[in-house]
Symmetry: C2
Subunit: 521 residues, 2 copies
């Protein structure tokens, strides 16, 4: 009565063991599945009853009616006022009637498409579709050899190239790391050019002010070689809008929503409601506040343009009660992500969550915290998993090794989301009869017809036995990830771009640089 130790059947293909690590890693990159849009076939995992969900919903409407939101931009306040929001107190704060909110958010689409300059890279957000995007906004970058350091434009480009190489990464982000060696007034121009030329995947753009927003959207349009109305007809970029919790919509963020909606480009509205610090210490309270902030900002997008595409984003997590600093990938975060998915579905909106962790190193902690966050997001029906590769240290660092570890994890999830086929052929009763008690299935025709593509094929997971692994240097997953990152960068190839579009893009950048770019606030 012992658990049988796993047996090691005769090796079918042993030649791989003899290959040098570099060659083996390059082969694993080459073997990755083609780029494909994922769709989650499973019914979401839900942890609140309908009544409990409704209580959060109603509490958030109470907050919007009784407390209101401080809207810092006069332009956005005026817009809200025109649509029925009422000034409260100091004149910056607005209160939103529950019926006003209900009507406003009803016009947001439940699913929309984003168009790439390469039609094979178009994505859909909502309706069970699932997209992964890499880490963004980190001030630092790190790798095993050079350690942790402030991000540069070279790192910025390398992270974009990694995101381009791996097919499981559906979209890219304009700022995977902040390129602090570029001058601020023109940074968005150089960064935008790299984002639009190093890859043909749909970008998440950054536009901290109306001027930068207009610049970057014009650059998207030029790279796509399309007319302004074509940009509006078919959205080609997304932007993330963070509310400033509790209950503030900063000027740059509010105007960002408006500019994106005017151009019919989607905003991902994401309150960063940190339970115990910028939100109530209880998850119910933090979620009610998150929901109030999200619904009011979503209403701003719909006030700007009825039917503008928008995503319900969630980022509720808890502080470390010993230090007051935020913790990510916690059990509380997982529960908040699952409930946020329920809320997004209640409003028939696409749902954004993240793959995040608190660890200072790309180690076991970073992996189990990431998995806590990702499993909750994915089983909770996420449509857009932001920060899904490379996030480390609570978002303060973009790690090359963590990027690769996350790509492995995401490839595992892509495989997990392939439904188990159930039919006579797959149930294989005849094969079981043919092999019989005590036989083995290695040589069965049923096996031979399927084995090459039957299972997830790992990128960095080492499944060799201890002896082979030891003989080959006994490297841990993090060190293997470091090698894979280098191989991936070496294998990078720039995708083609229409020369006329590139010329127009460069002319615009030159002109805007001459004009001084976007002045610093």
């Amino acid at each position: 009565m012992t658990e049988l130790p796993p047996t090691e059947p005769p090796t079918r293909r042993s030649r791989q063991r003899a290959r040098p690590p570099r060659e083996r890693h390059a082969a694993a990159i080459e073997r990755q599945s083609p780029w494909r849009l994922l769709r989650n076939p499973y019914r979401p995992f839900e942890i609140l009853s309908a009544d409990e969900l409704e209580a959060i919903h109603e509490a958030s409407l109470d907050i919007l009616e009784q407390v209101g939101v401080a809207v810092q931009s006069a332009r956005v306040r005026e817009l809200c006022h025109q649509h029925g929001a009422e000034p409260k107190g100091d004149g910056v704060r607005l209160r939103f009637d529950r019926n006003l909110i209900r009507e406003a958010i009803a016009s947001a689409p439940s699913c929309f498409e984003l168009t790439s300059r390469n039609p094979a890279r178009n994505v859909r957000l909502g309706d069970g579709y699932l997209c992964f995007t890499p880490v963004s906004s980190a001030p630092n970058v790190s790798d095993l050899e050079r350690g942790r350091r402030p991000g540069t434009f070279t790192d910025y480009c390398d992270l974009l190239k990694l995101a381009h190489v791996f097919n499981v990464m559906h979209m890219v982000v304009g700022y995977p790391v902040e390129p602090i060696d570029l001058p601020v007034p023109t940074r968005h121009l150089d960064a935008g050019r790299a984002m639009l030329t190093l890859t043909d995947k749909i970008p998440r753009v950054y536009c901290h002010t109306a001027q930068r927003a207009r610049d970057v959207l014009e650059m998207v349009r030029l790279a796509h070689g399309c007319a302004p109305e074509e940009l509006q007809e078919r959205p080609r970029s997304i932007a993330v809008i963070n509310t400033n919790s509790p209950l503030q919509l900063d000027a740059a963020m509010g105007e960002g929503i408006v500019e994106m909606a005017l151009a019919n480009q989607p905003s991902v509205i994401t309150p960063f409601t940190l339970a115990g610090a910028m939100a109530p210490v209880t998850l119910a309270g933090a979620l009610a506040q998150q929901n109030a902030e999200a619904l009011s900002a979503i209403a701003v997008s719909q006030f700007t343009r009825k039917g503008a595409p928008v995503v319900y984003g969630a980022f509720t997590t808890n502080v470390n009660m010993r230090t007051g600093s935020p913790a990510f990938g916690t059990p509380e975060y997982a529960k908040a992500a699952l409930i946020s998915g329920q809320l997004a579905r209640r409003y028939r909106l696409p749902f954004r969550s993240s793959n995040i962790n608190t660890s200072n190193a790309p180690d076991a902690q970073s992996a189990y915290e990431s998995m806590m966050a990702s499993w909750a997001a994915i089983t909770g029906g996420v449509n857009l998993l932001h920060q899904s590769a490379g996030w480390l240290e609570g978002g303060l660092t973009a790690s090359f090794e963590k990027f690769i570890i996350d790509v492995e994890i995401l490839q595992m999830f892509a495989s997990f989301l392939e439904p188990v086929a159930i039919d006579a052929d797959e149930l294989a009763v005849a094969t079981v009869a043919e092999v019989g008690p005590g036989g083995h299935f290695f040589a069965a025709p049923h096996t031979l017809a399927r084995y090459e593509h039957a299972f997830h094929d790992p990128l960095i997971s080492d499944w060799r036995n201890f002896e082979s692994w030891s003989a080959d240097g006994a490297t841990d997953a993090t060190h293997r990830a470091s090698l894979v990152a280098k191989e991936a960068l070496a294998s990078y190839e720039r995708p083609p771009i229409d020369p006329a579009a590139l010329e127009a893009l460069d002319a615009f950048i030159a002109k805007r640089k001459e004009e001084g770019g976007a002045p610093v606030n």
Copy 2:
């Protein structure tokens, strides 16, 4: 439009940063939650429709009717024959009619209690209850300092002590590692004594033959100081039975089921159906075969004693198609675990799954593979999570560091399974109003009344900022786990045992040793 970098609010309690690591780890062990029985409040995550599940069920009954199972023990064959199973072919193989199976398994209880010699450690299996047990059956043991080596009785005892120290570990296992320095004929006697005296948690016992089974059950009875009928009335141990896939029930395993059922102790029936090797390469086929093997062995328990407690165990995973060796914690494993949970619930049986991985080191790979397995098990409604702490290298090694990493993961799951409370107090609209836009919640009475126990308190996760973490040695999670393992062993205290029971136990062991123990087969 940037993702806001996490802010670091003013430190509330900074004294922890100055504490030396050893003291800090000891404090984290001390702060762990008390031992408590977990109950999963969430509706299981399911990935097959009822029709698809039924197709697997029917295929497995087809296998039992058309192919049958090779039952190696004449005693068990005779028992099955008496209850209606028919010989097929060589006389070792038996076929089971679908109605025979249906009727037999119907008498197995859906939930039962296990009684500890310390009533505060009683557990329940089934009906939403959830128990964690440590790694078992590994031939090797490893830690960072001494590397990987064959297990000894000292390691065996140390792993039992770790399992005793951590409250999230509900039960223990007789052989967390094989103590190869003990002579085989009397190994079960010394190992059994350690298992019954180093801890008062309910043991998973090992009994490779009828003789060893009788010895260890007698030792359980003596340690509990109870009469034979009291052992039968209230089960006090469990054993795992692995079928020998495909479709064989070995003599020792078959007789183990019978001995356990005669004593009314539960068997955890666990086929090890390795898709592509000992089972069809398709998950549907591997699960149909798993189910056929499980149902026939469960029937044997019910033939022995109607109503004997039994657990539906699942271990379907896939081979590494490059080498033919098994892989654990894969996406296929996760899907198989979720479907196995659905099958167990279809039969109203407690469900056993595992926390397993393929990694050769307690690194990021071991963590993400473990999380893949555990999330599937836990959201899939597992009642008994075996191998839940310390398993490494496909089960060939018990790792001290992985044990601690897993305890952290299990503590996170325990916290995840605490339902989110939704009421006016928790929704905290009044507190949101009081703090208002732009304020913070650190000093709110609502926060102060709750913050000490609001969130999961980590064991090895380091949530300090990069600078504090670096100044303190920049240790990764695996190295912190090594320190925590040492602190945990240093903090171990042997639980009391009734002196008369101990004397009787020792007398029995002395007598059985004099008799030569159990001869090797």
